[in-house]
Subunit: 499 residues, 2 copies
């Protein structure tokens, strides 16, 4: 067996262990009774430790050296996918080798227990309980960031970003975010003025959770989600989980605002379609995994923001709302729905934010994360700093922790460095959709009929099926002909909101 | 670290991997969409392989040798629990070391796919499909039995029994089953005559699945099941799964016969109470696991058959049936319920069988399994042999495979050698309950009030809390003062059915 083949066998095991852990995570968030949390945390920590031990086994480094030497000596030894796979293997090894086993185990245990504390603390607005669990977790995350930074020769916060979106750095993000920060405040004002002049949008639509769920399943099916290979369930924080062949998304139902859950479902379905479209032949290998979290987010935002918060989609949706949710009253025709779907209003909850104010929520977290990792902000200072920046960027201050720093699951899982992906993903989504609509003239008329096949076909060929064959920004440029930037996103906003 | 301590660390990992696999199995049977089966089978096979590799690592055998030598040289080196734990470790190692890794992996994959085929074949009565998947699995099970038999120096079928109930052999089972075979046919005839003279029992009770489920949860709570540490769900075949701190039972609802699902729930709750009562301190160690499958079954039968198919329990149940299931009509008072709960009628479905005819179902499978493992019966011969023995023991022949050899999940999972546990468990259940009622005079009056605390207290102290501290038959004798036999079971039957 060649060194490369031996590595594929090793990474197959790692991929299977990751998938098993992903299922246990899904169960945790959707099915597990509270008493199971401690044992589950221990199981997940052990799986994480086994993966880490297997990846940092000295034989892996030796095999990587050997396979890289072989590939360099013989240009035909590996094809392009295998070369990209080998690169991905080395990257994973480098990250893992930088972290000692006991740190990995401690991080896994601390994030599992912090997540459980967060689940209890959020509804009771109990920041003190959260802080007590988060402070030791943050200390471990900082330790991890420092170790990774040394191995990758970059700043600690950049090392965390790298682990979510390979190749992405603060130096790339800063000019993009600066540009948006310069553009958005004035733009939000102009949109608010225009929308205010047009009168208040229709009030939120009430509907029982069961009816919302039935409609959600109908929409997922239209989008191309295969219920023979996936599920829709309920969790506190919507997410896309599961593993190859069995993609599981979740949402939460607000019986006073049906559109909120439906839009969350459309968003997670975008993630799910990406996962379902990854190449089966490479399922357990690094090159077969999703590219990165910004690219992942681009796929959910492409579905939710680009495709579905549009006039063609609301024309498809309006009769379904009546069919599934019953008597809809005034203002639930397609145009009223559209106005509601693109209504811009600064608020407190990131996942409920419109696409115009969303970047402010991300920039807020980006600034706080950098300060937390740099040691310039302590845990107890989060609520105050949060409120100040929220006020600065959006002109309002949250009145509760639940509306502030307790709203997101990420930090409680030790996931710092993830948030910038959301806005980088929004920029990518605009570029991908723009290119797809240019390449497929039938795309919009099809969406108006509830037919997503033209869009999904384009995505499968240009994005999903390529998995990690290229890094995210390179894949974006190949698919769209443009490097990552803010121009297409801003043009999209101007057309939709002031067009 | 002592050799013994190093072994405990190793077995902790094995225990955690088993628990993770148990959760993935539960998900398979309750939540997983069909498209996930192939990937899930691969995940489970890999977890199984990792456990096997870790257990058969040459260091484990060396550590066992060393720990045993230390324990022998220094009588105070290990306490009684640790000694029993060390014995359990050696037994697991011996079984694992007898099986080559590729056989373990092949068994796991073949049983996962056969189980999926069975799930599809049972409702469509498709024996040919099942046979095609079962034949290669059986070949692997026979290979496993032969390898274990050589390592344990016993017959191949005995080696399989040993893996489910340590210490149990055909030589123990045969005289017990022979005794029952001599007693039961005449007894069934006498009971049928007496019950026939008393007139037909009340007809089955119809109720929507949701109402049955609500009542099932009410009864589980009365029995001592903690929904903060467990769940009730639906699966094709009722089972008790999950892992420490998170015990998950399942049932299936027949809307035309509410008592069927409720009794299945009571049965699985008995299993769940045993699992929940195992000592937390030994959670991941061999000595902390359930004793064996016969003892496990004794706990479910003790709850279902001994405690709940009784007049005191039906007096507790009758008003709840009315409360949860609505208008009950004639014959749903406590006495009519009791008559229905102890109604004896030879039938085809093992899990629906009354306790008097149940042993016949087990003896049937016991005979066929022995023949399959010995090579005296081929897969295609199962339906014919099944019908012949069914006719001989119960006087009726199944008209479909679904009513015959496709009814059980066990063989499709490669579980041969398990079935005798059911009837050995029934004998144990009678002995345990008899001793508990003797030790706790308040036991029956409490059950009539729906208070299971006296019974559960006795079981926790004498059975659950001891886990695998002793082998099953020894534990039975310590708790009840009697060795395993048929006398108490037969006395119970005579009192209940002809008393």
């Amino acid at each position: 067996m060649s060194a490369y083949a031996a590595l594929e066998a090793r990474f197959r095991r790692l991929g299977l262990l990751s998938d098993a852990a992903a299922m246990l995570h899904w169960d945790w968030a959707t099915m597990m009774p509270p008493g199971g949390a401690e044992a589950r945390a221990t199981q997940l920590a052990e799986l994480s430790l086994i993966r880490h031990e297997s990846l940092t086994d000295p034989r892996v480094c030796a095999l990587l050296d050997e396979a890289e030497t072989e590939a360099e000596a013989d240009g035909d030894a590996l094809d392009d996918w295998q070369r990209a796979n080998l690169k991905g293997m080395r990257r994973r090894w480098r990250e893992a080798a930088a972290l000692p086993s006991d740190l990995v185990a401690a991080l896994s245990e601390a994030s599992s227990s912090c997540e459980m504390v967060w689940r209890a603390a959020r509804p009771t607005n109990d920041f003190a309980a959260f802080a007590a669990a988060f402070a030791p977790l943050l200390a471990l995350v900082r330790e991890k960031a420092a170790a990774l930074a040394q191995a990758l020769d970059c700043a600690p916060y950049d090392a965390l970003i790298e682990s979510y979106e390979p190749g992405l750095r603060s130096a790339t993000i800063d000019p993009l975010f600066d540009d948006l920060a310069g553009f958005l405040p004035e733009f939000v004002g102009a949109v608010r003025e225009a929308q205010g002049a047009a009168g208040a949008p229709a009030p939120p639509l009430s509907a029982p959770a069961a009816a919302q769920q039935a409609l959600a399943r109908r929409l997922m099916t239209a989008l191309g989600f295969d219920f023979e290979r996936g599920r829709l369930d309920v969790s506190l924080h919507p997410f896309c989980g599961g593993a190859g062949g069995d993609i599981r998304i979740t949402t939460r139902y607000d019986e006073d605002d049906a559109l909120s859950a439906l839009m969350a479902v459309l968003h997670e379905t975008g993630h799910a379609l990406y996962e379902a479209g990854l190449p089966e032949d490479w399922r357990y290998q690094p090159v077969g995994q999703a590219c990165g979290m910004a690219l992942h987010e681009s796929q959910s935002l492409l579905i939710e923001m680009q495709a579905c918060r549009s006039r063609p989609f609301t024309r498809f949706l309006a009769p379904l709302l009546e069919e599934y949710l019953g008597g809809t009253g005034d203002g639930m025709d397609a145009e009223a729905l559209y106005r509601r779907a693109i209504h811009v209003e600064p608020g407190f909850i990131r996942v409920d934010a419109d696409e115009v104010t969303y970047p402010a929520h991300v920039m807020l977290r980006y600034r706080l994360e950098r300060a937390l990792i740099a040691g310039d902000l302590v845990v107890d200072g989060i609520p105050g700093a949060w409120a100040d920046i929220h006020d600065e960027l959006l002109g309002i201050r949250p009145a509760s922790h639940a509306d502030g720093c307790l709203q997101d699951i990420h930090w409680s899982c030790g996931e710092l460095g993830y948030f910038p992906s959301y806005t980088v993903g929004a920029l990518m989504a605009a570029q991908f959709f723009d290119a797809a609509a240019r390449d497929e003239p039938a795309l919009w008329p099809a969406i108006e009929r509830g037919d997503f096949a033209p869009l999904l076909g384009w995505l499968r060929a240009r994005v999903h099926g390529l998995a990690s064959r290229h890094e995210g920004p390179a894949l974006l440029e190949r698919a769209t002909g443009r490097p990552l930037g803010t121009v297409v996103f801003k043009t999209h906003l101007q057309r939709r909101y002031l067009g």
